[in-house]
Every structure is written in C-alpha cells, then in structure tokens.
Amino acid sequence: MPVTPHVPPHVPPHGPPHVLRLADVRQTSSFRLIATLGLVFVAAIMALQALTYTLTQRELLARSDAVLKSEMARFGAVPGDRLVAALNDAGRQSASGFNYFALENAQGALVAGNLHWHGAALPDHPLELAAGVAAPVPLRVLVHGLPGGQRIIVARDIGQIAEIRQRLLWLSLAVGLGVLVSAAALAVVLSLGPLRRVQMFRASAKRIAGGELAHRMPVSARHDELDLVATTINAMVEEIERLMEQVKGATDAIAHDLRAPLARLRMKLAAQGGAPDVLGELDAVLTRFDALLRIAELEAAGRRAGFAPIDPMVLLTTTAELYEPLAEERGIEITLSGGYGHTIIGDEALLVEALGNLIDNAIKFGPEGGIVHLALMREDRDLVLAIADNGPGIAKSEREAVLRRFYRGAASRQAPGSGLGLNLVAAIVHLHGFGLELGDATPGLLVRIRAGSPPI
C-alpha cells in the first residue's frame, strides 16, 4: 500500500473569502465588454486626433509656404544688381526677426541678408529647420538657385506653428489617456455590481448545498438576466425543498407509525418474558429500522451543523483505539500509517461511525490472525483515508451492488448485521461531499474515503 508518512499540510478547502479581487473583476463579462468598447473608442479618438493634427499642420505650413513663395517671387523679379540691396532691406525691415533672407555666392558665402545657413536643399521645395540650427526658432526655408551658382534663401519663423502642433499632440495624448483610464474605471465600476451579485449567488448556493433548503437566491427589482437566472434557480430549490419535505415526512411517519408500535411490542414481549429468539428477531428488525431511518435522515437532512475542522489522522487513531480490543479478540492486528497535521471539514461523530463500520466489517470478514490497515494518504490535492483488510474482499462485479440497501455479499451471508453498514457509510461519506471507492487490497477489501474539495 502506498503510504506517505509526512505529507505537507493540507490546506482546508474552505470557500474563498468574499473579498472582490481585481483578478475576479478582470474576468467578468461586463468588464471585458466595457474594456473592449473603451479600447475601440480610444482608437477612434486617436484616429480623429491624428487626422486633425495632420490636416491642421499641413494647412498652416501651406500658408507659411505660400508667403515664402510670394517673397521668393518678389526677389526673383528684382534685377541682379539690386538684389543685394533688396535682400538687406528686407532683412532690416523684418525687425521682429520673423523673416530671414540670404544671398549666397557660388562658394556658399553670405553676400547679403541676415540668415547664416549653408545647408543643402532642393531648390524651390520648402523644408523645415529645427530650432537652433540656423536661428533660435524653428524655420521654414525656401531656396531658389540663380544662374551662376548663386542662391536666394528665404526663411520664416514657424515657432507658432510648431507650438500649435505640439499642443495638438499633447492634447491627443491626454485625451486618449483620459478616455483609456475612464473606460477602465468605468469597466471596473460597472462590473462590480454584477460581480457582487454573482458572489452573493455563490454564497447562497453554498448555504443551500449545506442543507439550508429554505434559503433563496437574492433577486433584485431590476428584472435583468441575473435575476432571471436567480429566479430559475429558486424555482429549482423550491422543488427540491418540497421533495425533501416529502421524504422527511415519510421518514418521520415511518419512525412514528411503524417503529414505535414495533418498539412497544418488543417492550411488552420482554415484559412478559418472551422467547429470546423472538426478541432477537424483533431486535434485528428494529436495528434495520434504525439504520434505514438514520440513512434516510442523513440523506435528506444534509445535516452539517456539527461540521468542524478535524485532523483525519486523529480520526483514524481514535477509531482504531475503539476497535482495537475487538480486533485483538479475533487475533487481528490494526496497523496505522500516515501523518498528523492535516485538516478535513466534517462531523467527527459521523465519521467515527463510518470508519467504525468499515473497521468492524474488516474485523468481521478478515481471517483470524489477519491485519486491518488504516492509512492516511495524499493523492493530488485530496486526502485519502484507506481501510484495507486481508479477508475475502468483494468481487469487482459485486462492488456496486454492496452499496445497495440490504445487499449482502456471498461471503457475508452468515455474518451478523443489518446489511446496511456500507449504505450508512456511503450516506455519511456523501453527506460530507467525499468520495467512496471500493477496491482490491490484493488480497482483501480496500475501502478509500477520498476527502477532496467540498462541492461548490
């Protein structure tokens, strides 16, 4: 048998605390929807801004270029001998320093004007110079070649255009960022409401699954799709509750109307000194009644009031100690393996009863001088409580059947008992949301109770 002596502590499968985390918000459909819409919106705004930017700067530059060209045309019309004077005049008249002019000779030296720039440029095509290249301000420059290698340069301060451009750029960025942030915030805020409601649904579902069948999903007055779901679930729970009430009613009726008269009969018989074999048979019937009622109650009630964290190893040890003298009487040894320090959530008394039933069976059916081994193991994220004997075991074909009521396997027909022991175990295990597996201990029966994550 695989045995894990020191398994790392098992984290009890409690439900998540009801704190809204960003990861939860991010996964909601409302968040995704609003975030997607927000992104599309931001993209549209950015495109619009880009278009405005491009058109505006093109228009402003075109105007500036038109002025440059008209200036150039003016100088082009000036006869060669008066050109120097005209350019110097123009430079002087531009007191604001708004316009710049230059006449260069074929060697690139400044002949007239106020612009010191000798860079290469395609003639008659305006180009832009950044601030600090030829002047402290950004310039738009137009170059016109003259016969003989001379060239006229006309330039305009486009500081204002650059500033407008800069502002437009910043504005688009700010608007884009603003919309992005507000879309994200809106997405979070708008998904918080539905998420809170879904978490309320989860809490409600947990309570209902925990046996509070009178509990209902919260329904708001909005009549939205979540309310639709909640209403549907509530109708379902109502039907389940009604069925459970019926089962419980039937159980109570059996308890009171059938069992009580039988019990009275037994008392009367005993008082009259009834034959022991008759009393014994009656006791057997009553024992079965008790077991049946107990199973019915366990299945119907979903009794989880007594649930608390328990160390499964303590559970195994306690039950082993309880049955150890019984085993000893048959020369059977109970062995234990596994480590302390794990936690499962359950009802201690019920689990001891279930384990006790299994150990009792193992002792009853095991060979004299045999071994009953109890083990606590860890498989994946589950804790497994295993009870193995070296008795005859249960044939694979019979394993399902033994969990049916009153079924008694071929090997057990002679043994005393209600025939409901495994049913009771199954009911207790199911109540806990654990799994029950019957297997082969080669030789013998291996029963495994798998304490995994609880439902929901």
Binding site: A255, R266, E297, G306, E321
Partner: protein, 225 residues
Amino acid sequence: MTHILVVEDDPETAALIAARLVAEGHEVTRATTGREALGHTRSLRFDAITLDRILPDMDGIALVARLRAEQVMTPVLMISSLAEVDQRIAGLRAGGDDYMTKPFAPDEVAMRVEVLLRRGHAAPAEGRMAVGALEIDLITRKVWLAGEPVPLLQKEFRLLEFLARHPGQVLSRQMIFEQVWGYFFCPADNLINVHIGRLRRKLERPGRPAPIDTIKGEGYRLNAV
C-alpha cells in the same frame, strides 16, 4: 421513597415504564399531556421525570424549557423515537439531563433513572474515590486494587471511572458508550464487551474475580463490596 413523574402519552408504554419503576421501589405518578405534567410539577415534588419527546399538546423540549423556567430542577430523562444527534443535542440543551431513544428496554429506563437519582451522591469532592477494594485517584488518574497499583490506559480509566461513579448500579452498553466515548450511535454489542473484558482482566487477582459483573441482557455493574 423516591417519587418519579412519568410523562408519556402512550398508555401501554407508560404502564411498562411505571411497572418497572414501581418494581424498583419508586413511587410513580403518570401524566399523558404536557399540561397535566406541568400541573403535577406545580403541586408535587418529584425526584426524577421521564418525558416523552412528542406529546399530544406540546413538544417535550418545550416542556423541559418551561419546567426549567419555573425553577423546577428535577432531573429529566427524555425518551424519544427521534434518534438524530441534533434532536439529542436539542433535548439536552433545553435542560434535559439524559436522552434515550425508543425502543428501549424498561430496564434501561430504570437504569438511567437510577443514575439520575443518585447523581451527585457518588461524586467525590476531593478527587478520590473508593469502591470496595478499588481506590481511584481522579487527579493523578491512578488506580489501586487492594493497595496494589493497577496500570490502566486512558480509555480504561475513563471506563472504570464511569462504573465507579455508579457503584452497584447496572449500566447498559449504550450508556457506557455514550458516557465514556461520547458517541451516540449504536455500536455492535460486543464492542463494549471487549473493552469491559480488557478492564476486567486487569482487575483480576488470583482467586479473586474482577469486581465487574455482567448482567445478562442488561449491562455491567461494578460491585461495591
């Protein structure tokens, strides 16, 4: 003479319980409804009450709560066909002193009533008990038989302690299981037998059987001599 109130709506069951208690030497008054029972407790003093959990006019739990509210502190044994642990807890929480489920042997009722009646009498104040040749120190958890120490395991000690708190009284297997182990399901009869058997072997001395008697069909008794 001790006076016991039997509250039970089923006349046959009531007759059986009453007959058994009378045979034990108790005086018995019967009531079939909660109202009648309250009438009795207001005019008479009882030493113990047996109470059916389901009465025609009120729930036994409500009746116990009512009695306790009226400062009637008489020990109450609740008898019910509602065997669920929750029901038991509810019964004990409401003020019941013991809770047993139907069907019961009238002997078991008598045994439990006896335990309720004698509660407090056998309880030692100074942490030491002596029953016949047995001496039990409840604080150091040591046991001596005729002056000789008897090494006991924890559960064996608890078992002996429970028997010793009710010397000379017959205690049923169910009572022992409930009180010593604290569980309320019905274990196989032989489970308690083997635990008693073990304790008995430890208390045996050559030529002297252990002071624990088996009362066939009923339970066990620790002899007071």
